[in-house]
């Protein structure tokens, strides 16, 4: 692998052409896939939305005009104005500030879920697919059983044990996410296991772990990335739903889901409370869905685009 670019460069120099591209190490497959997806206008649009909302989440302390918990007495349930760009809620808190801070639970849960759930799922899937036999059977039956509950119900079950809280939501959803990743990784590994490069690595005496992590995993990354983007959208949606039910992010910490829950009692008096968090949530989901679609189109040339 490493000899090839050098030879190519040598040959090119001999022909009087300077090739510099191959002097660098190949790009990280994840970065390369994201760049690939960004070439598609929809993917670029999705990445931009996600990026903007991420800026809002990270920069909330500097961007928001007031503290997310600051009460403004006598200014309850106001509509948008110059002092409160998006209005205020039932106890006089600035909605814009809460909306910006409320992006944090979405990203924390979305990110943690795919890191934890994706990590555990991909590792177990690798093991199941590569080792096969009874290990495979046991892992897959456990996955099937976990699969019997939709993510939101797994979330409810786990949060009943752990109690509400942003990070607890991520743990709960990671448990819901893992079996899907395990299944997908396993199916990819089963396809890769008998390929020549794996046999070559085996013949050169590489250990199973090394083959799995250094050879099989990087070659299976494409379908997994699509699944990661899809599950991040599911996790963001589930976090909002669970916080909406009062099981997720604990008040008074703002989260888009709990803000929507707050709005329910005031639909007749203050419409805006029920609008903004939903718009923000829908934007983030559009971004993630577009990114997932673009990744799928970029990484799977066979797919007919629908």
């Amino acid at each position: 692998m490493s000899a090839q670019p050098a030879e190519a460069a040598g040959a090119a120099r001999g022909a009087g052409i300077v090739l510099t591209i191959h002097d660098r190490r190949p790009l990280n497959p994840i970065v390369a896939s994201l760049l690939h997806a960004a070439r598609n206008p929809m993917g670029l649009f999705g990445l931009c939305i996600i990026g903007l909302l991420m800026v809002a989440a990270v920069g909330a302390p500097w961007l928001s005009p007031y503290g997310p918990l600051a009460l403004h007495a006598g200014k309850e349930l106001l509509g948008p104005s110059t002092t409160f760009p998006l209005g205020t809620d039932a106890i006089g808190r600035d909605l814009l500030s809460r909306l910006l801070w409320g992006a944090r639970p979405s990203f924390i849960v979305g990110g943690l879920t795919i890191v934890l759930g994706g990590g555990v799922g991909i590792l177990t899937g690798l093991i199941a697919g590569y080792l096969g036999g009874w290990v495979d059977t046991v892992i897959m039956r456990i996955c099937d059983a976990l699969f019997a509950f939709p993510p939101i119900l797994t979330g409810i079950a786990v949060l009943t044990i752990l109690g509400p809280g942003t990070v607890n939501v991520a743990y709960a959803l990671a448990i819901a996410a893992a079996p899907g990743f395990a299944r997908l990784t396993r199916s990819v590994v089963l396809g890769e296991r008998t390929r020549d490069y794996v046999l070559a690595a085996k013949a050169s005496g590489a250990r199973s772990w090394r083959i799995m992590l250094r050879h099989v995993l990087p070659n299976s990354i494409a379908p997994l990335l699509v699944q990661l983007a899809i599950f991040m959208a599911i996790a963001v949606l589930a976090e909002a739903g669970l916080s909406f039910l009062g099981l997720g992010t604990r008040p008074p910490t703002p989260s888009w889901g709990s803000m929507l829950n707050d709005s329910r009692a005031y639909l007749r008096t203050d419409v805006w409370m029920g609008i903004w968090p939903g718009v923000a949530l829908a934007l983030l989901l559009v971004g993630l869905n577009f990114l997932a679609d673009a990744l799928r189109d970029a990484l799977d040339p066979r797919r007919v685009n629908a």
Partner: protein
């Protein structure tokens, strides 16, 4: 086909057992000792020990599981800690409401998705296709519970067309029943429409240019007959395979949508159970949803086998 059915049912059995173990484990992972909770402030170590014995908590976990499973198989799900009513009775009261909502949403979503999916595929790259694509992207991105809030804002608060929540269920009042069902059905169905419509479209696109469709066209069949009789019939085959999974997600979605519309179903029962620390109800609700999901997936696989001659005739293994 017989062997396939048997094999598929045999595969489902360990999954069912594992999921009962998981739900059983839920109650035992909960913080706090139920015997201490039941004994209350006046509990002495002796009375708590007696309660633990009565409740079977002094036995080993596997023993407790076997006893619990035995009761479960007899339909005994325990009693509500709050009202002391049998959980199975409570479940039986709430399941019809949840099923009514879920089936209405499924039916609505199917009709809309097949229609929009077929139109988008047949008239690919037309204005209609474009509108449907944008609609589907929106449908996928708008959370059902937010759509529920928007629908209440628009249809109940602003214009007072439809009730903002609650359920009317009686054959004598069909009009009000349907009116109370309308908004939650819409809110529950929309995300599913986004998924299914895209799926129908790509399935249609895959068969629309196949040889047998071309043959049907070239022998002079009307376009409508070709689309519905030949193409759609085969395109629906892969669609059937995702229906079970999608219906399972739909059931999960009912929990939140029921909460938005104060729909007296299983979801609101479970949420009340969590709020009241009435965990027998939460456990029973999870069991019901899990079992429904497993059965649905089994039926989907069997239906697929029945519809697909390649599996029906025993070629696949």
């Amino acid at each position: 086909m017989g062997a396939y059915t048997v094999r598929r049912i045999l595969q489902a059995i360990p999954v069912v057992f594992l999921s009962t173990i998981m739900v059983f484990g839920l109650l035992h992972l909960l913080p706090g000792d139920p015997a201490i909770a039941l004994a209350g402030a006046n509990g002495t170590p002796a009375s708590i020990a007696a309660l633990r014995h009565d409740m079977g908590l002094d036995k080993s976990l596997p023993e407790q599981y076997v006893i619990w499973l035995g009761r479960l198989l007899h339909g005994n799900l325990g009693n509500s800690a709050l009202s002391h009513v049998a959980v199975s009775t409570l479940l039986a009261q709430r399941i019809p409401a949840t099923m009514e909502l879920a089936l209405a949403a499924m039916a609505f979503a199917l009709v809309i998705s097949v229609t929009t999916g077929v139109v988008a595929a047949v008239k690919q790259r037309s204005v209609a296709d474009w509108i449907i694509t944008i609609f589907n992207s929106l449908a996928l991105a708008i959370p059902g519970f937010w759509l529920g809030i928007l629908l209440i804002l628009l249809c109940s608060v602003r214009f007072s067309w439809l009730p903002p929540g609650g359920r009317v269920a009686s054959w004598g009042e069909l009009g009000p029943s349907i009116r109370s069902l309308a908004l939650p059905t819409l809110a529950l169905a929309l995300p599913l429409i986004g998924t299914l419509s895209r799926f129908v479209k790509s399935a249609m696109l895959e068969v629309l240019y196949d040889d047998y469709v071309r043959t049907a066209r070239s022998k002079g069949l009307a376009s409508r007959a070709v689309i519905f009789g030949h193409a759609l019939r085969n395109a629906l085959l892969p669609v059937v395979t995702v229906l079970g999974l999608q219906f399972g997600f739909l059931l999960g979605g009912t929990v939140i949508i029921e909460s938005v519309f104060s729909w007296p179903g299983l979801g609101t029962l479970m949420l009340d159970g969590i709020g009241n620390r009435d965990y027998a109800i939460v456990q029973a609700g999870l069991l019901y949803f899990g079992a429904a999901f497993i059965v649905l997936n089994l039926l989907t696989d069997l239906a697929y086998g029945l519809l697909n001659p390649r599996i029906r005739l025993g070629a696949g293994s």
